[in-house]
Amino acid sequence: MRAARPALPEPACRPVRRAPETLHPALWLGHQWGRSAAAAAAIASGFARLDDQLPGGGWPRRCLSELLLPHPGIGEIRLLAPPLVAAQRAGRPVMIFDPPAALSARALARLGFDVEQLLIVNTRARLIPGSDSLWALEQALKSGHVGAVLAWLPPRLRADRLRRLQLASHNHDGAAFVLRELAAAGRPTASPLRLALQAAGADRLRLRLLKRRGPPLEAPLDIALPAVLSEAAARRTQGIREPALHEATFVNLA
């Protein structure tokens, strides 16, 4: 019997063990990085530690990158400035939709933006009859003429609205950042990349990759933002961290 077994011919239809990603760009295994055709030309985020963790080595083109943050002003502009500035340097327009507060031209110029070329669109200033405020964003993504988009979405956005935007962004050859409230983390999303942002001290940002094409990232990612504080002031933050801890332990004891 043992001699007979090797005599059996190998089944012809036995699948050849080939890596799935070589068969089709949309195929990959759970423990691998998602490699799509667009990911080959991902946009460098400007932060090496973040690039290492993003599929394709940067922010994706032709799809939405969803960022969840508790409130504006924790360093999100400094995080997103490099790809936006790169788009401007390449001669392509950058559009900002529904910024939550007034933008400071001087601060943006210091981050490298060509301020007068930024287009700011307010869609919620007036109630548009029979349409939603995402129409403008969808048009911009669909047109394919915008280099990068940074948009604040209205709270409690329905998943199908986001799916429409995601479909529209297939035409958009560039980064498309949509910023939403932190509570959206519990709801499903159509965008292939979702990050939660959190302040982690002065000039530091903590990122949690909630969703990406590839293995989940358990540990949060701390990155250092371009410093606002001078070195002396930064040292002061170290100094005052200690008493704050003592205060906390004191409260606990009580």
Binding site: G75, A105, R106, V115, L119, H145, A199, V228, A234, R236
Partner: protein
Amino acid sequence: MLWIALHLPALSLESFMATLASEPQAAAQRPVALLEAHRIASANAAAQALGVKPGLKRATALALAPQIVLGQADAGRDATALLPVAHAALAFTPMVCLQPATTPGAACDTVLLEVQSSLRYFGGHERLLQRLHASLRPLGHVVRSASAATAQAAALLSRVASPPHCTDLATTRQALEVVPVWLLGPGREHWEALQGMGLRTLADLLALPRVGLARRFGEALLDEIDAALGRRPDPRDPIVLPATFESRLELFARADTTEQVQQGASVLLERLVLWLAAQHAFVRRFRLLMHHEGRGSQGERSPQASALDIALAEPSRDSAHLLVLLREHLARLQLPAPTLELALQADDITKRAPPNQELFPTTQGEREGLTRLIERLQARLGTDQVRRLVAVDDHRPEQASQAQALDGRAASGGSGGGRRAARSTAKHRRSLAGPMPEASHGEVGERPVWLLPVPEPLAEKGAGPLLEHRPLKLLAGPERIEAGWWDDALAERDYFIAQAPEGALVWIYRERWPLSTRASGGNAATVGGWFLHGRFG
């Protein structure tokens, strides 16, 4: 000489269908007929399928097809509808004329154009005909074309069953032989006599002695035959393009909704585009006038006409783009009363070379696309909702950045920025020129990206400010900003960069209250204390 005749056999029916302001697909299924002196003059295919034929009485037609839409034939309306066809022809040659109608009172339905000198430019007779038909297609007319060496021959040949295209005189004369005699204008009067004599075609007439023909049927018949055969000069007056565009469309069914207005306006826009193409021009702004139904006693209160002005950032003659803009503007408009008549006016045009067609996307194509996108957004959201930031030299942070509505020229400026840079003052440019704008201004501290529109008062505990009931740590500062005594917006503040308990950096200030109370008249509730003014995003 090479003449092309464009004959529109169903012009009056088509010009009436345009006034119905309905979808083209729906219009094709709807039986429509035109009345002239209480008899059916023409009927469309849907009406003919129901048995409605030209010549029937009105009551008979209504009995056959109760749902039929009956309109009155209107020579003036037909003439208005024929004019865009002539304008389309003017894009190919300056010598365009209308063939006068054979029967008095009827509207002419044939446009003649002389193209001998344009053949080389347009790549030959075949290619020119193709392009001519392509440019007429948006108008939606049935167009039959014939070519001949003389104008009269082309007009005659365009009415025969299968119009030939003859390029020289010999073939033209040959083709004319089979033309029925009743197509000749004077021949129609003598139709019965000609028929009685067994003379059916032009060849039959030509076989007869000229003197006898002239005596029996008059000189006019011979003159027309000679003009067609090229034996007699046939001078024609070319039509002249009007300097400004104005076209009207009286709606048969009053338009209650903006969609119906838009359907009617799309007809007018196609006419506008052809008028522009005839003079190689692009429109900068146009105006749609809507004449409304008066409402009896309320007629005084409801306006009789409303106008919609549409200005373009980039001159255009793309009918699809113009229609999109018009749709966005119309969607925002509330019609005071049903619309009876539409008129489109345009006089602000610019003449220039047409843009190059590109195989691959280029920066210029992208810039044009962006301009159109911005135009669309402005049309829907309002002009002042698409803005750009302008840095202003002012120490007060709330004054240092101003959002300005994007005007048309700024939108088309693109990233080259030549025109835009020229418009912003030299001062602004200097402040943004280098990566470190404060180099020429002395030391200026860091500014946060986000500025609160109204500074938020902060609670205090001891001497320190609280944010969300937790103390803020002051990290850098103070930076004193004291400016604005000249424009009644005095700011006397000491700014600090502070760290919120969660770790993010905020920009807070303390009002220098003793001076402020003196300046603002002692409103103690708003002066003094800590304020949150910005966040470092």
